[in-house]
Homo-oligomer: 267 residues x 6
Amino acid sequence: MAGPGPRPEPVLDPIWVSMRRDAREWLDREPALAGLLHGAVLDRVDFEEALGCLLAIRLEGPGVDRLLLSRMFDEAVRGDAWIVEASRADISATHERDPACTSYLEPFILFKGYQALQAHRIAHSLWHGGRRIMACYLQSRASAVFGVDIHPAARIGKGLMIDHATGVVIGETAVIGEGVSLLHGVTLGGTGKERGDRHPKIGAGTMIGANASILGNISIGCCCKIGAGSVVLTDVPDNTTYAGVPAREVGTIGGEDWPALSMNQEF
Amino acid sequence: MAGPGPRPEPVLDPIWVSMRRDAREWLDREPALAGLLHGAVLDRVDFEEALGCLLAIRLEGPGVDRLLLSRMFDEAVRGDAWIVEASRADISATHERDPACTSYLEPFILFKGYQALQAHRIAHSLWHGGRRIMACYLQSRASAVFGVDIHPAARIGKGLMIDHATGVVIGETAVIGEGVSLLHGVTLGGTGKERGDRHPKIGAGTMIGANASILGNISIGCCCKIGAGSVVLTDVPDNTTYAGVPAREVGTIGGEDWPALSMNQEF
Amino acid sequence: MAGPGPRPEPVLDPIWVSMRRDAREWLDREPALAGLLHGAVLDRVDFEEALGCLLAIRLEGPGVDRLLLSRMFDEAVRGDAWIVEASRADISATHERDPACTSYLEPFILFKGYQALQAHRIAHSLWHGGRRIMACYLQSRASAVFGVDIHPAARIGKGLMIDHATGVVIGETAVIGEGVSLLHGVTLGGTGKERGDRHPKIGAGTMIGANASILGNISIGCCCKIGAGSVVLTDVPDNTTYAGVPAREVGTIGGEDWPALSMNQEF
Amino acid sequence: MAGPGPRPEPVLDPIWVSMRRDAREWLDREPALAGLLHGAVLDRVDFEEALGCLLAIRLEGPGVDRLLLSRMFDEAVRGDAWIVEASRADISATHERDPACTSYLEPFILFKGYQALQAHRIAHSLWHGGRRIMACYLQSRASAVFGVDIHPAARIGKGLMIDHATGVVIGETAVIGEGVSLLHGVTLGGTGKERGDRHPKIGAGTMIGANASILGNISIGCCCKIGAGSVVLTDVPDNTTYAGVPAREVGTIGGEDWPALSMNQEF
Amino acid sequence: MAGPGPRPEPVLDPIWVSMRRDAREWLDREPALAGLLHGAVLDRVDFEEALGCLLAIRLEGPGVDRLLLSRMFDEAVRGDAWIVEASRADISATHERDPACTSYLEPFILFKGYQALQAHRIAHSLWHGGRRIMACYLQSRASAVFGVDIHPAARIGKGLMIDHATGVVIGETAVIGEGVSLLHGVTLGGTGKERGDRHPKIGAGTMIGANASILGNISIGCCCKIGAGSVVLTDVPDNTTYAGVPAREVGTIGGEDWPALSMNQEF
Amino acid sequence: MAGPGPRPEPVLDPIWVSMRRDAREWLDREPALAGLLHGAVLDRVDFEEALGCLLAIRLEGPGVDRLLLSRMFDEAVRGDAWIVEASRADISATHERDPACTSYLEPFILFKGYQALQAHRIAHSLWHGGRRIMACYLQSRASAVFGVDIHPAARIGKGLMIDHATGVVIGETAVIGEGVSLLHGVTLGGTGKERGDRHPKIGAGTMIGANASILGNISIGCCCKIGAGSVVLTDVPDNTTYAGVPAREVGTIGGEDWPALSMNQEF
């Protein structure tokens, strides 16, 4: 039986340590958030348990209780090292790139883009574990709760930031490289003609602006920038900026620039 | 008094029969969804009751309980044959056109586009039955819950598919023909100048791409395609593709092609 | 101890008087909304209490109870005359400009654009009162509940209407003048390069169409019109219409016209 | 489709008419109870629907939703004329005998003794319709919610009043005649020796005082009075008062006196 | 606008200061109770607000929300100095007399006897303020939630302890002196014959044992002891012990002994 | 990652196997209970997990979520072999002794006496693990939810049945031997004079009838029977029947008889 008092502090996980330190500081400043901060972070053993509980509470729905989801998420997170690695990379990505974000705690607790992405990471793991129905159920819940609709089969690299997030749609055969940034309203859509490979492939380090639509089995290169509101129907080479409806090349990206990091929306 | 055990299986309604069969298969594969599957399908007498209960649970809000809504929806669905006919055509439309959808059960249980549309069909019936306040209340709840804002007075033909659905807005005097497909973020908006007929009319078989805005009392023809992200301010003749901001003709549609069915997003 | 029976009617506040009168009329026509109408309006002492309770019920979340929020909102609303003034100007703006809106009660109870904006007004007041964490928590809840993401530091003039609202994003250093209208999907986004002043400034009386993105520290003049789906990357002079991706001048606005009022979406 | 506005008033059911009239009067005096009064009475079509909804809301539990219960209760109440007759006799009994009760509305909305008894009447009907598992589930819920544990097989005559109700236990083979009154804490318990007929039989018009235990397959006559705190292990003849541990005859009841009506607790 | 961080500590109210100190100590030892401790004590301004919120959360029910109750309770508690005085005396009484109770925080947060009594104190105040319907509603909720049924008109002196509490029933014209102790299952019942004064009067300092029933308009003296399971039908003089069914004198109480304080159950 | 489909059936635990078999049979007969049966039994890995989840759902309260409780209960149940052993003995005891109980599933899912006892077993383990505050919190929740108030320090042998359960109170220093049966309303109360050892000790195999009070640090022997409504103030030798207020010997028990098993309430 665990002894009384607070749980011992884990010491080897810098993101978790930072989150707990910030949670205690937030608690000092806003005791009214005690229930939230304890439930999401301070009463949890480690990052993995915290993530599973947070998502279970957000995603539970009629007939599917948080207890059941939390056990499933726990198994999924602990059974798939990739989820853990990616979810940490995602939180770091948001922390680094969002000028309004000053801690790891904010994306974890407050940003629905981060939370929706983690729901996808678990759904993706279930999908490949043969549990397609449950994976689609999680997709549906995330769409209802966050307004973010990511097909469980989509392959998404580590370190994705989905900023603001409302209205993002990512299709079944889409592939996203590492270190990409998406803004709200981005669509990685299919062409509908066929059932096969029909969604875009996005290169590493690329940034896609708000409400941009990338349609069909096309390739967006690495370190590209897609302007807000653009509609991209053709391949985009590395290190270029595309914009317009339909999108055309409007510039190039300097070799040292990683648009997903600099997040410069101008074109 | 009804006897013990499961209710007798209805045999004449192929969609309902298929949904129940799939629900049982899902249950075998994912017993964790038992509460959902029983509550939404397996414990229900027929499609009509199932639809009313599903929507009541999704749309209930502070001060307006699911019991009350479910009785109202039951009356509405059973009292208006059009709703029943249209809601079956809508579910078939989604089943046929969405390559990621392999059953009638998925749109019914998982797709908020389908659910939001059915909430509209009931609100529309209430609106024309003189219950405008209640109709607007349902519009408001659907906007809050699904992120889909359809004015109850809008007239929508059978067999509409709203794919992904977040951000769809359809105005008061909009008219949509049969067999249309809309993607997420589509706006059928007014011009704001007048209170009268001020929203678009969409022809049968037309597909409108993601985040496209159709503005004003204009006519989009039958079997047209409106490109993603377009802004349409003028009439569009039958069998043409329009795209751009503002949208211009960018192609024509072959006679056998029904864009809402083929769902080809390219232009 | 207050005596039995209904509370005395306040007589000096025309918006509140009108809301109560309409609530009673709605109640006569739709008794099924009794719980909603009493909870939101008829059981409340005045507009201020009603607003605080309404938002508390909408924004409560895991670990943060409506009781706690309602007391905080009450203090905020009563302690900051600006909130009260602005929230009344906002309700009037919606009432005047939305052709589908015929009462003050509708925006208050039914329109998530209005509700999300009031959540921001309180968050803004908390932000400037030094309670940044709580302000960001409210931003996060409003993003989850309404699909509207407004940074608490954004400065928003009185009489804003946010129509339909899903997908609106307003950044940290954005400034909006008085009497502006925004449609759903509008982004007032940053350029990401710097942490400093990096978001748009919108002049009084301007209207921004659905899904338009205004990016960077640029100035949109007074009484401008920004077309739906546009992406604006440059300053826009007073009384002009901009549209396109990227947006260019496509017309001018007559001196007597206030686009935010006339809400004409054409360009 | 039902027209707008309030439902037409049923005119032939005096208890229901009285309940609705009182509900409106209560509403005038305590508008804060609007949600309760509308949900339980004013939004309901008739006494039968009102009863089913009231019980569904009180008895729902983890995994068993009020929608499901309300449909089952509706069927049960409408399919078994005895329930309707008995539930009206029970409400009249409470109205007549409880000096603190001045309306039919009070027992219906406020008295858990009445509500628990109606839950039993439905469970009893299910039990005899072959649905023993569901009947036992309702017994379990009523025990959890009201603290009243009545086996579904117990046979209870019309016009029972259970005053205050906490702690009442009635066993499987107990039989209660018409017009009986029980106070809180009363046990009609078994002897445990056998599985067969092992619980008391209570004659019409008898009153059993608080915390009295009647144990075994014994007969309590008509128009008897059992003193509070008594333990009865033997038959009790008609028109007598028994009291003590174990109970002995302590008086007789005059021929015109019906102890269940006069509710005189003295002995 | 209130500044950031924790509220200032009130210094003049020793019970409240003690409760807050204990709440912080409990929080250190059991962080899992953070939501409870903050919600009930640490986020509250003073004892009065804390009491109103605690009861609102416990007593809310279908159609009657905690927000509404909390405002009503706040008004009641702040408007009736007697409630405040009595509720503090009650908490002190429990703290002094229950050997298993070592703080003021325990009765406040954990003991349903204390909570049910405070619900009565507010209901009593409403009853005498002319709000009899609301008072009866609170009685009904307390009976459902705590299993304690106290008529709002009953007059109860300060410093009552109701230990364990399940099954306690106190009638309309009952009067309880100061400093009394009741155990669970105690009934102060009527004789049913008349509508008038028909319930017991209990003298100060008296203790009534578990499951005892005192019936009719009789007087129990000061500093008496009523044995567990007794049924009292006659007056009981000061400083005597009564027990049995029916109860008879079985002993006397020494002059310095206050049975309600010493809580000796033996007789 | 666990594969799709139902979990493998554990084969070595006959009680759990029986519960699962019965749950599936119940499900066939009453599909409306699907949510309950899956949530409590069919979706759970083993008896231990099922017990923790069931109690977490029943005992959660304001500010203390089921997720948190379920993890705590899981740790407690898995960390203390005594709990597991006792909770199985308790379920067997109810199954054997209650003539109305025909399965292990009924006590587990439907009987609050069993559920309240298991809450105590966990609270007792926490108490001895030094977590007294949490233990008292669980006691408080069980008192609120089940109407059963057992001090966490009370020592209770295996194989206890608490039949009907409402109103049971067991004090801090009470000790109950193995194989005891208690009916509802039983009090094992203190004498209040001292803080030390002040509650009864109950011998193995004893049965205590409904509403009986055993008061003070006295010994009730093995295989005794205490009549319903009795008040016991003195030691009771083995194999005797005591009854009355105060209780006196009224019979002896034959050597082969185990009153807790035969459950004969007569004396």
